[in-house]
Amino acid sequence: MSETYYQSYGIVVALLIGGVGLVAVAFGAARVVAPRRQLPEKLTTYECGIDPVGEGWSQSQIRYYIYAFLFVIFDVESVFLFPWATTFERLGMQAVVEMGIFVFILALGLLYAYRKKVLEWV
């Protein structure tokens, strides 16, 4: 168990805390320096100058959902690619063929989505 492992992640944690601290300090400074004159018009939702129509939290197209779903699937695929990329040379052609089958099956899925036109928009 190497000490350097925990040390390097100590730096990551310190950096995250530093980043959050930076944001907090900056917001604190802005709170002190910036003027605060709140008028009701200022606090309304911006809609090109006219009064807001309907509710801000309205739903929009379902279109994007399929992309998010595809993303999850291909993200899982890419996670397998990284350990493979570092070792395939040692394991030889066998490992390349294994990954080839894996990628091919998922590419079939992408082709299916393409042929069923869910990637199309208009």
Partner: protein
């Protein structure tokens, strides 16, 4: 500390560069007076102005999420700079997992943008945030897959290791397709023109950031320019040899200058594109990622694998 300091100064440099490059390309010079040379002090003035601006949280908004969102967008970009090697020994840390850490941590800022768009309780913001998130996830995949091809060549995930592995030749020569995919995907990840539909000011009024004012808005801008530096730096490490110089005269100049030069050149290129290309349409964008870039990247990976095993 150094990393934090760097994060605060480098994006400002890029922001300045953007102003001036665009100004000269479009012959709209803008403020040239403050501070002498090409108005450099304007930048400081802008920073001070941002802090002094009134910070408005709309009444309909969800104030906690609204306030947290800029931090969630920005902090991941700070964390990236920890692993980027700016010289043979000039890095904050050398994680074994290097590039994978970078890719994983950039994924967090998608949530920040969705938070900003939702918390604003504004239709434009919500549409903008959904557009942005859909774009970021669609182009994250080509980014990941292009990096996999480089990892296959270098045999390591560590960014220092990848730089060292390019001692003899840069990977742009063996992975031109990967480089192309990576740059296009980076542009989309940064929501820079021609991929700026999520913030299209003429359609949805800066998207997720419509309701943001003052310092909170400044943080989103800082994250954008920090992102330009970060992606330029990662692209330099993966494809342009990082701190490795060109042969023969490479040793004469320290690695830090090589790295900075490459990052600057790529950042200039990214800014240049803004002045050159019009915006794509939202559906063209998604189609391009899924129908062109991802299959191309997968093919690239398999070809690299076969070639590398055969050559060995």
């Amino acid at each position: 500390m150094i990393v934090l300091g760097f994060f605060l100064t480098a994006p400002m440099g890029i922001g300045y560069m953007e102003h001036k490059v665009l100004a000269h390309m479009q012959h709209r010079l803008g403020p040239m007076e403050a501070g002498g040379f090409h108005g450099w002090a304007q930048l400081v003035a802008d920073g001070v102005k941002f802090i002094q601006k009134e910070d408005i949280i709309p009444k309909a908004a969800d104030s906690w999420v609204f306030t947290l969102a800029p931090a969630v967008v920005m902090v991941p970009y700070i964390a990236i700079f920890a692993v980027i090697p700016f010289g043979r020994t000039l890095w904050a840390e050398n994680l074994d997992i290097g590039i994978f850490y970078v890719l994983a941590i950039t994924a967090i800022s998608v949530i920040g943008i969705l938070m900003a768009g939702w918390a604003s309780a504004n239709k434009f913001s919500l549409i903008g945030a959904l557009r942005a998130a859909a774009q970021l996830i669609a182009y994250e995949l080509p980014l990941i897959l292009a990096s996999v091809a480089v990892v296959m060549q270098a045999g390591t995930l560590s960014l220092v290791g990848i730089s060292e592995a390019q001692h003899h030749y840069w990977y742009i020569f063996t992975q031109p397709v990967g480089f192309f995919i990576f740059i296009v995907a980076s542009l989309a990840e940064l929501t820079r023109p021609p991929f700026d539909m999520p913030i299209a000011d003429s359609e949805i009024i800066f998207g997720a950031y419509t309701e943001y004012t003052g310092l909170k808005f400044a943080f989103f801008l800082l994250a954008e320019y920090g992102g330009i530096v970060a992606f330029s730096a990662i692209a330099s490490v993966l494809f342009l040899g990082g701190y490795q110089g060109i042969p023969v005269i490479g040793h004469l100049i320290p690695g830090f200058f090589w790295m900075s030069g490459k990052v600057g050149a790529l950042a200039f290129f990214i800014i240049w594109l803004r002045a050159t290309y019009p915006r794509l349409r939202e559906d063209q964008l998604q189609r391009f990622a899924w129908v062109a870039l991802i299959p191309l990247a997968l093919a690239d990976i398999m070809v690299t694998g076969v070639v590398k095993v055969l050559v060995k």
